[in-house]
């Protein structure tokens, strides 16, 4: 239900995504309910029931079948979308690789939620981080507005002939999916104009020009397919920037690879994805008022990982804390930490970098936590000593 104030509309993350899906009007949507992403599919089903979309909606019997049907429909040349969370994404795992390996530009919203066991319906990033090597583009969203804007851009990025790679747009379960936020929606015509038509290069439905897809490859060529795929995903970075600028030119909201918040002259910085960035900004503002030079780096694009740009953005910072909302369970810190730290390794003077796991299963992350992290970074700057390189955020 929308609350309208002036030009702005109050929508939950899920409603905004469903609204964007109505505007995109994909040819096929195959989906299965799971908290906290269920609302997306429920609202989209209402649009479908009311005849507001021309989509064929497939209410499949599992997420594995959801992604399988997406693969089939996309191979047939359709524009295809779905949404899921947590166990649903985990059940899709096999199919994620098949969608990307066949270079099918499926677009999926992932409403981030913890993975069982113990079962927990609340936010963390274990689900999408578990899929980080599946060959999907990953865009992360701090707010409802960003989730909405990211989804529209994801369609263009995924379908770009230079990319042809599936994309997932991630937003935080409940924190973003269920919170009402005032956002600016585009007109249907603006969305249509921005995404354009999808013109697939090949289709299983072209029976006059039969193609074989999903063939078996052996030692002689498998690696070459993977190499090509890897290069295409790497190239997606440029397309993300291009599409983000075009979006900004058209609608006034500019997007790049990441957001740097008061980072130019920062001595201490936090790197964090999604909604926790909003909380961190409040802490940054408060500390800035007290004269502390603190800042934030919020990656928007996590796959492909913009390591050079992240390194450039952090090169003058003295101490960095990377906050991960997922644990790699005895890896070297969380996934974001290990990649950011590795990105910084080649710098002439490498900032001190620590990693903290936070917010698992919906555990609150407050301005106080953020402030405490900055204080910890200042202690490192002052003493030159880091007591704990990686670990769990005290909360």
């Amino acid at each position: 239900m929308a609350i309208v104030t002036g030009k702005q509309v109050g929508l939950t993350g899920n409603s905004a995504i469903a609204y964007a899906m109505r505007q995109i009007d994909p040819d096929v949507c195959a989906a299965y309910p799971i908290t906290p992403s269920t609302g997306i599919i429920e609202e989209f089903s209402s649009y479908y029931a009311d005849g507001q979309v021309s989509t064929e909606l497939i209410t499949v019997e599992s997420e594995h079948s959801a992604m399988s049907a997406c693969v089939g429909a996309s191979a047939a040349g359709a524009r295809v979308m779905t949404a899921t969370s947590s166990q649903g994404l985990a059940l899709m795992w096999e199919m994620l690789y098949i969608a990307s390996g066949m270079r099918l530009p499926v677009v999926m919203t992932v409403v981030n939620r913890a993975l069982s066991a113990p079962i927990n319906i609340h936010c963390d990033h274990s689900d999408s981080m578990g899929a980080r090597d599946s060959g999907w583009i990953q865009l992360y969203s701090e707010t409802v507005q960003e989730a909405y804007d990211n989804l529209l851009q994801a369609v263009r990025i995924a379908e770009d002939p230079r990319v042809l790679t599936p994309a997932m747009v991630c937003m935080d379960g409940f924190i973003t999916s269920h919170a009402v936020e005032n956002i600016t929606l585009l007109a249907d015509g603006e969305v249509k104009g921005f995404i354009g038509d999808y013109k697939p290069g090949r289709s299983l439905l072209d029976t006059d020009n039969p193609i074989t897809m999903g063939a078996m490859t052996l030692q002689d060529v498998y690696m070459d397919f993977k190499h090509e795929q890897s290069m295409a995903i790497a190239g997606a970075k440029e397309v993300v920037v291009e599409v983000g600028s075009d979006f900004g030119r058209r609608f006034g909201r500019h997007y790049g690879l990441m957001e740097c918040y008061r980072l130019e002259d920062a001595e201490a910085a936090i790197v964090v994805l999604n909604s926790a960035a909003g909380t961190t900004k409040v802490a940054v503002d408060e500390l800035r008022k007290k004269g502390k030079k603190v800042g934030l780096l919020k990656p928007r694009l996590f796959r492909p990982f913009p390591y050079a740009e992240i390194a450039a953005a952090l090169k003058n910072v003295k101490a960095v804390c990377v906050l991960d909302r997922a644990d790699s369970m005895n890896g070297f810190g969380g996934p974001l930490f290990s990649e950011v730290r590795s990105a910084l390794y080649g710098l002439a003077s490498v900032p001190k970098v620590m990693g903290r796991i936070f917010g698992l299963g919906g555990r609150d992350y407050t301005v106080e936590h953020s402030t405490a992290v900055f204080e910890g970074l200042y202690r490192i700057i002052e003493t030159g000593r880091m007591e704990e390189l990686t670990g769990y955020l005290k909360s």
């Binding site: 195959a30 497939i58 399988s68 191979a75 299983l204 039969p210 999903g214 063939a215 078996m216």
Partner: protein
């Protein structure tokens, strides 16, 4: 009903040069299916012998659009393709008068077991497609492991004929019956030795509105430990012993489509296959007896149902 000559005159849509074994039941089944469709066909295969044997890059045996996605999702994959087709028709991206048929193919493992849920879901949703299971009675592609279609007593690599457990200890799942319980417009069992019966059923199956299912027995010399040249005969014996009755259920009415003139004992079928060799030892005769009893009862049940509504 097409004559063999007419069928043979049609374009070959499944080319030779594939890598399926000699004596494999799958190629004649696929050829007959593609010749029965009457319209262009788009197909998907589950992981298994058919998939591996026909699509080793850069070669393909398929002269129709074909996709392999995974092992357990042929029915879900075809759901997506068929939905895209309906979407495109609605939007005029495919001409209204162009008709395409959709075919999903899976082995018994990909159908009775790991793909069972996807199959059930697609049948319930009512997609317009034909699902064909080629039932060779085990996971053959990965080296003859038992499936829920494997016959009682059959030796496989995961149900070997041991001293204590002589082959598979469980009766097979009656998948055709389970599929019939989905109330779909058409379901049938067929065999490649009876091409006329198979072709007629496939034609019906392709032409009903909604989901159709065919379970087709598919001899496998490698897994059955039988001679390649005996395959068609092995299929015939499976039917003449009533291990594999030929019947169909059309809009809820069951019809036995073939009654053997002389119903043969199951031992006739077993004895040409090495996978049943141990059942002829005296200490295992109870398995043979039990099989015969259950086959007789099931055959009688079908005869009693012949011409009647299944529900």
């Amino acid at each position: 009903m097409a004559t063999l000559k007419e069928l043979a005159a049609k374009d070959e849509l499944f080319s030779g040069g594939h890598r399926l074994c000699s004596g494999c039941g799958i190629p004649p089944i696929v050829r007959l299916l593609l010749r029965s469709a009457g319209s262009p066909v788009v197909a998907t295969s589950a992981t298994g012998c058919l998939e591996v044997g026909t699509s080793i890059y850069p070669y393909t045996a398929w002269r129709i659009p074909w996709i392999h996605s995974a092992f357990e999702n042929a029915a879900a994959t075809i759901s997506g393709i068929e939905s895209a087709y309906r979407a495109f028709k609605k939007k005029g991206r495919i001409p209204a008068d162009k008709e395409i048929k959709f075919l999903a193919l899976g082995g018994d493992g990909g159908t009775y077991d790991i793909g069972f849920q996807a199959l059930s879901g697609a049948l319930e949703r009512g997609h317009n497609f034909l699902y064909v299971c080629y039932d060779n009675g085990a996971y053959m592609n990965t080296g003859i492991q038992r499936s829920s279609a494997t016959p009682l007593g059959s030796a496989t690599t995961t149900s070997p004929a041991g001293a204590k457990r002589p082959g598979k200890q469980e009766w097979r799942k009656d998948l055709t019956r389970v599929v019939v319980a989905h109330n779909i417009p058409y379901a049938a069992q067929a065999s490649p030795h009876n091409w006329r019966d198979l072709e007629g059923k496939a034609r019906k199956a392709f032409n009903v509105a909604g989901p159709a299912f065919m379970n087709i027995i598919s001899p496998c010399p490698l897994g059955w430990y039988s001679k390649p040249e005996d395959s068609i005969n092995a299929a015939r014996l499976a039917v003449d012993t009533c291990y594999w009755p030929l019947y169909e259920v059309e809009n809820g009415i069951l019809r036995v489509t073939y009654r053997p003139k002389e119903k043969k004992p199951i031992a006739d079928w077993f004895k040409i296959q090495g996978r049943f060799k141990h059942l002829f030892k005296p200490e295992n005769s109870h398995l043979l007896d039990e099989t015969q009893k259950r086959i007789d009862a099931e055959w009688q049940r079908l005869l009693d149902m012949d011409g009647k509504a299944v529900f």
